[in-house]
Structures are given as C-alpha cells and as structure tokens.
Symmetry: C2
Subunit: 120 residues, 2 copies
C-alpha cells in the first residue's frame, strides 16, 4: 500500500496508455492514474459515477450531446449511465476516481478492457 | 450542480480558512476544496477514510506516531479511525475526498465544526 503519493513520480512509472493504475483506495473507491493518448472507446458505467481530474495536458470527453474540454487543474464527473468517450489529441495525465468494481470500458468489452488493475 | 470544475477558479471564491466547500459529488462522496492556514484540531473519523490532495502550498498532517508532509501534487489518505491534525504554516489549497456524511472535525465538536457544507 502506498503512503504519500507524488502524482508526477507515479505518472513517470506508467508505461502504457489507457491502462489506469491504482494509486490509492478509500471508502470503496480507487484513485487511479492514467496516461491517455488517442481515442478511447464509447462506453458507459451503468451504476458508477467517474471523476476525471486533468493533471497534465488537455482532455476531451465526448458525450452524446456535447463535448467537454478539460485543461490542467480541471475536473469533471461523468454520471452513471452517461455514454462517454475520452479523447487525447496529445498525451494527457489524468487522475480518476471510481468505485473499485468499475470496469474501465464500462458496458463494452474490447482490447482496452482491463479486468484487474495494478498498483503503481 | 457544477459542471467543469476549475480548481484555481474555485479556490479564488473561497474566503474562509478551514471551511471546506463542495466542488463535486460522486458515488456517495464529496469532492471538497479548502483553504487552510494555521493549526486545526486533533480529530478522527471513525468510519470514513479521507483523502488530502495538495493543490498549492505545503501541508503537514500530524499523526500520533509520525508527521506527513505533503507538497503540491501529492496526496495522502488518512484511514478511518486514525487521529490526525492538519497544520499549514503558510496558506495551503487542498482537495479533499470523503463520504457525504463526514463531519469536518470528526469525533470532536468545536468552533470549527460545520454541519452543512456549501457548494463553491
């Protein structure tokens, strides 16, 4: 279990894009860190809200009815049941918060789907 | 309900120290923002873990057996039941994450105790 978590140091340890790593756990939620680049898959989480906090870069979150653009130091919560697709034209470092049981690709199973997340 | 939350813009709206404001809500948790300066009260949360993410400044969290020093971009989770006292020698901006039911002073009731948090 980690203790003090330095975000920049943790991001430096992450090799893959679209592969969230666990940086903390509290009250049934995971704090996850991910490097993003390119386009993810459209998906939704039926029962879980998901928080995105941009630590570096510019993250676009496509929703079915609009597009949300997040800069460094900005956060956005995707509500349960809302379809979304994260897109990162350039590399983005993001902190995520979601329930432990959440699957990264939500209702979609594809090559991005991770069943067990590793700690970083 | 807020949408995109720009942390710097939100902190600029907060006037008081030691008075967390709600910036988001997900999965039964509040995302809270607080300006800290000086010494808080020793307290514990019997059933809730609490996350501290330092956005600006240097935050000291005194525990009964050690002291944790957090710089900008570092987070720490105080486990349920663990007595702690945040101390900010200079002003600190911190993002907190804790269950909605959490009382800011935990098991202690004093002049810092807030029963209802406002949104920022």
């Amino acid at each position: 279990m980690p203790d003090i978590v330095n975000l920049a140091q943790k991001f430096a340890l992450i090799r893959d894009f679209w592969s969230p790593k666990i940086a903390g756990q509290l009250n049934g939620q995971y704090v996850e860190l991910a490097r993003l680049k390119g386009e993810f898959v459209w998906h939704r989480h039926d029962d879980e809200d998901e928080l995105f906090l941009v630590v570096k870069g510019i993250l676009t979150i496509q929703l079915r009815d609009r597009v949300v653009t997040l800069h460094e130091g900005e956060l956005f919560i995707v509500r349960a049941g809302i379809e979304h697709r994260p897109v990162a034209a350039e590399e983005v470092h993001v902190m995520l918060l979601e329930p432990i049981a959440t699957l990264n690709t939500g209702n979609v199973m594809n090559e991005h789907t991770l069943r067990d997340l590793d700690w970083v």
